[in-house]
């Protein structure tokens, strides 16, 4: 049980208003593009117009003649320094600037540096690159064809195949399928999309020739890991590199990898001894930086005639583009995709994934997602609906029948996960009740009789977040712990620093709330700093909803270390033994004599002014937290849609989200995270798509073509919660940022398919634009 603190202290469970808001509201945020240094110059990338082509020559003479141009760096220049290629975060390498050939449209070919952004842009136009086009591979299903062009002759393996990965028991699963009276399947593409945070990626690289230190202000979700990689790849001593992640305008996974533009800016700064700013445009962002998904999936379910599921088999083809630039733990080539058995009790399961190269931008990153859990959750939630239709059962009933029961936790899944806690039926029942599910079904029946189209979609997802335990999880070898350092000042105020980095999640408020909870120091007295590798303890950063499960654990444990020292000081001050003291948030008091007490502020003062003999001065602690397990948030989402038979237009009438993320630090912020993730899920379900034509030209490479939801398409979100604490997390929290994005796409799609299910429709691939629906209506002869 979490002890309730007063609103003045503002510990866990209080909707404390955000401490970081003020600077943003005043227009005084400090994002990378706001940084202006004396003598700063600007970089501009030259990009390939072709998806696959040999580079015959690069001529930089005309560009160099533009007044104000200082340097034009080419792939050949980088090759001389051994920097033409860089490692990706997943056992592959990626070209920084192309040498020999280009592999996707908009690939980085040269980097122009000039005194002004205009001179750099003008000169970039004048870099002459002579290309010879090569056959293009766009369709991943043809990547392994005998006549497919081999995209990566630099690799030992002369094939477009990147990896095969499988998990589960293939034979037992096959046997279960043979025996099962009911079999069903669904083939679903989780389309290539892009996180598109409102701020694009960029940096200011500043190599100081006097101190020989390199400072890089970077749009980074993982500044420490980036510092280490700069050191390893660039050969600069790590103590001479300082990465600063200033205010970040949204990340959603897009700001986890290292991009060529960053490396070029660093190289240019080293070369010129001047600060170099490089900030990509939106089009560059969508066309070249980490895309997400592009999973071509097939799921089969075997079940009894009564709907009891017996086995799940999943086959997936993963399109990684030109380089495998997935940012994910090294033991998991397909991320945590094996969470695909979801909330259900499958006795048998088998899952296999094959990754291939194509002439597309490299990826795929985890877009508001723990490494492919979104794909997995979407697939199983779609497949359960298809099974329900086949059995002519209500999809809610089918789910309730197959849920893992609360008394079965910790639950070992057939694909190797140990779910910490859950009460799936409770969340679902609450959602059904809020929705008025039975009445909705009745309304649907009546509407169908009148020829109107209405659908109800469910998704009762299980999430996996908080990567992760060091025995299994590392990124590029770095174990996925996280850290917190807390210092209490003599006046009882505090500063805390973490290895994570907020991109809008409200860390400057929520982490102080954990400290307030543990130490009773009011939230308003605690400053939180992140993102400066010179001052913050080492951590792996913020993505995959890991901040609360991992750094939140560190914050809690570091606070408790301080409390233990505070207990000793209090015993000294009160002249009693430590065992005679009791704690309540904010003070130690003598058992049975509550008036004999020392507040945490008094104790902090004593830590610097009246130190017990033999004790070190000061009151501070640091903790590097290695979580014992992941956490498994869950929930049920219900979506209600109406479809216009004349236009195929889909109206999301209602959306109900019941989330369970364990104990909550700040309900207001959790709700905000859910709203935001749902809107992203809406975009993915109905609008967001990066596709390529047969020549490899990117479609959806700017905000005119890559559609994002505005306030007009976005419905009113009805949110609620249940609370099943994580049994292994110090404060019972689970993490929430990505749940709504993981759980919602299936709810939207299930609702649309449900509206058309009586016509025999079982699946429609995302994004479901009205034209797709209208085409189906026309085919079925029901378009008005």
């Amino acid at each position: 049980m979490i002890q309730q603190t007063s609103p003045e202290i503002g510990g866990m469970g209080h909707s404390v208003k955000r401490k970081e808001d003020r600077r943003f509201l005043l227009g005084k945020g400090n994002y990378v593009d706001d940084i202006h240094l004396p003598h700063m110059v600007y970089g501009q990338l030259v990009r390939s117009p072709f998806a696959h082509a040999l580079i015959k020559s690069v001529n930089t003479e005309a560009a160099m003649r533009v007044p104000g141009v200082l340097a034009v760096i080419t792939g050949e220049d980088l090759a001389k320094a051994g920097l033409a290629w860089m490692p990706t975060l997943f056992f592959d390498k990626q070209m920084v600037l192309a040498t020999g050939k280009v592999l996707f449209q908009s690939q980085e070919v040269a980097f122009v540096v000039a005194e002004t952004r205009f001179a750099a842009a003008d000169a970039a136009e004048l870099v002459e690159v002579d290309y010879e086009e090569l056959p293009v591979l766009v369709d991943p299903h043809h990547a392994l064809d005998a006549d497919a062009p081999i995209l990566r002759p630099d690799r030992e393996e002369k094939s477009n195949h990147i990896f095969h990965w499988e998990v589960g028991d293939r034979a037992a699963t096959a046997k279960a399928f043979e025996k099962a009276p009911v079999r069903t399947e669904v083939t679903a593409v989780f389309q290539r999309c892009h996180p598109a945070p409102l701020e694009t990626c960029g940096c200011v690289a500043d190599f100081n020739t006097a101190t020989e230190r390199l400072t890089v202000w970077l749009t980074s979700q993982a500044p420490h890991a980036h510092r280490t990689l700069f050191a390893l790849v660039g050969g600069i001593p790590e103590n001479n590199i300082r990465v600063i992640s200033p205010d970040i305008g949204g990340g959603f996974g897009n700001k986890v990898p290292i991009y060529p533009g960053y490396v070029c800016a660093v190289v240019a700064s080293l070369k010129l001894g001047r600060p170099v700013k490089w900030v990509e445009t939106r089009s560059e962002n969508l066309q070249s930086t980490g895309f997400a998904r592009d999973y071509h999936m097939r799921a089969e379910i075997a079940s009894e005639s009564d709907g009891t599921v017996k086995a799940l088999r999943v086959q997936t083809l993963a399109d990684h583009g030109a380089f495998n630039a997935a940012a994910q733990p090294t033991k998991f080539p397909a991320g945590l995709f094996s969470i695909c058995t979801g909330s259900y009790k499958f006795p048998n399961a088998f899952c296999e994934v094959d990754g291939v190269y194509t002439n597309k931008a490299p990826g795929g990153i985890a877009y508001r997602c723990s490494f492919r859990v979104t794909e997995a959750s979407y697939l199983i939630e779609r497949a359960m609906d298809v099974l329900a239709y086949q059995l002519n059962t209500d999809p809610a009933e089918l789910r309730l029948k197959n849920f893992i029961r609360p008394d079965e936790f910790p639950y070992e899944t057939p694909l190797g996960w140990s779910y910490d806690s859950g009460n799936y039926a409770a969340a679902m029942n609450k959602a059904l009740e809020i929705a008025g599910y039975r009445e909705l079904r009745k309304e649907q029946e009546e509407k169908r009789r009148r020829g109107e189209l209405m659908g109800i979609g469910l998704s009762s997802f299980t999430e996996v977040v908080g990567a992760g335990p060091a025995h299994t999880f590392d990124i590029a070898g770095l174990k996925m712990f996280d850290s917190c350092e807390i210092r209490i000042h003599p006046t009882g105020k505090a500063i805390a620093r973490l290895g994570t980095k907020s991109q809008g999640q409200g860390h400057e408020t929520t982490f102080p709330q954990i400290i307030a909870q543990e130490l009773g120091i009011p939230v308003s007295d605690i400053t939180l700093e992140e993102g400066d590798t010179d001052t913050a303890p080492y951590g792996l950063g913020t993505y995959a909803s890991r901040s609360t499960p991992v750094a939140g654990g560190a914050t809690s444990v570091a606070s408790r270390k301080i409390r233990e020292k505070a207990r000793k000081i209090a015993a000294h001050l009160l002249e009693v033994s430590e065992e005679d003291l009791e704690w309540e948030p904010g003070k130690f008091f003598v058992k049975g004599a509550p008036s004999k007490a020392k507040t945490i502020q008094e104790i902090a003062f004593a830590a610097y002014t009246n130190i017990p003999p033999g004790m070190e001065a000061g009151l501070e602690a640091v903790d590097y937290y290695d979580p014992p397990n992941l956490t498994f948030p869950f929930g049920t989402y219900i979506c209600v849609v109406d479809i216009d038979k004349g236009t195929g237009e889909i109206k999301v009438r209602r959306f109900i989200a019941v989330d369970d993320c364990g104990n909550i630090i700040n309900p207001m912020i959790v709700e905000g995270q859910i709203h935001g993730g749902l809107a992203e899920g809406l975009g993915i379900a109905f609008m967001q798509l990066i596709s390529y034509d047969e020549s490899g030209n990117v479609q959806g490479g700017n905000f005119m073509d890559y559609l994002l939801p505005t306030a007009v398409e976005t419905p009113y979100w009805e949110t609620d919660k249940t609370c099943t604490p994580s049994p292994h997390h110090p404060i019972g929290a689970k993490g929430v940022g990505e749940s709504p994005n993981v759980g919602s796409p299936a709810a939207f799609v299930n609702a649309v398919v449900d509206a058309l299910s009586h016509l025999g429709v079982r699946h429609i691939d995302m994004p479901i634009a009205s034209w797709k629906v209208w085409q189906i209506l026309k085919e079925k002869g029901v378009a008005a």
């Binding site: 208003k17 955000r18 970081e20 808001d21 003020r22 600077r23 943003f24 509201l25 005043l26 227009g27 005084k28 945020g29 994002y31 593009d33 706001d34 202006h36 007044p67 205009f118 598109a196 945070p197 409102l198 701020e199 694009t200 205010d247 970040i248 305008g249 949204g250 959603f252 445009t281 939106r282 089009s283 991109q503 809008g504 999640q505 409200g506 207001m668 912020i669 709700e671 905000g672 995270q673 859910i674 709203h675 935001g676 993730g677 749902l678 809107a679 992203e680 700017n702 905000f703 005119m704 994002l708 505005t710 306030a711 007009v712 976005t714 009113y716 979100w717």
Partner: protein, 162 residues
Amino acid sequence: MPSTRRVSIQINGEKISAEVEPRLLLVHFIRETAGLTGTHIGCDTSSCGACTVLLDGRPVKSCTLFAVQADGGEISTVEGLNRNGQMHPIQEGFHLEHGLQCGFCTPGMMMSARALLERNPHPDEQEIRWAIAGNLCRCTGYQNIIKAIQYASKKMAEGVSA
């Protein structure tokens, strides 16, 4: 070298004059010439609204105008919202209703909200949604932004009647 033109623009009541290239975008004039970086750039297709400012009282996307087109005009940006150290009701609303997360869309969003409330002091939810349809937010799902604007609308009405 492209020739330059002299422009003179009032920003939040202060006159800023400079020699600029005719192709200089208004948003770059605001951010770099005037040094007011609260106005952001989120796209290159006039789609996101992160750059929204008021030009002579009307909301414009400052990435879609040249600085020379605003010559002689009056611009209001996010930096001019609070007066005498007092938060504007819109800023207050965004804070109290949790209408911002990463804060990148927020300045543009608040300027659109201000323009809306000036022409329609009591908008309903649909009117608010349409008024900010030119401003993308990737973080909030819009719901709390709408609440923030409703808060401001109420607060401003109280201010008038008081």
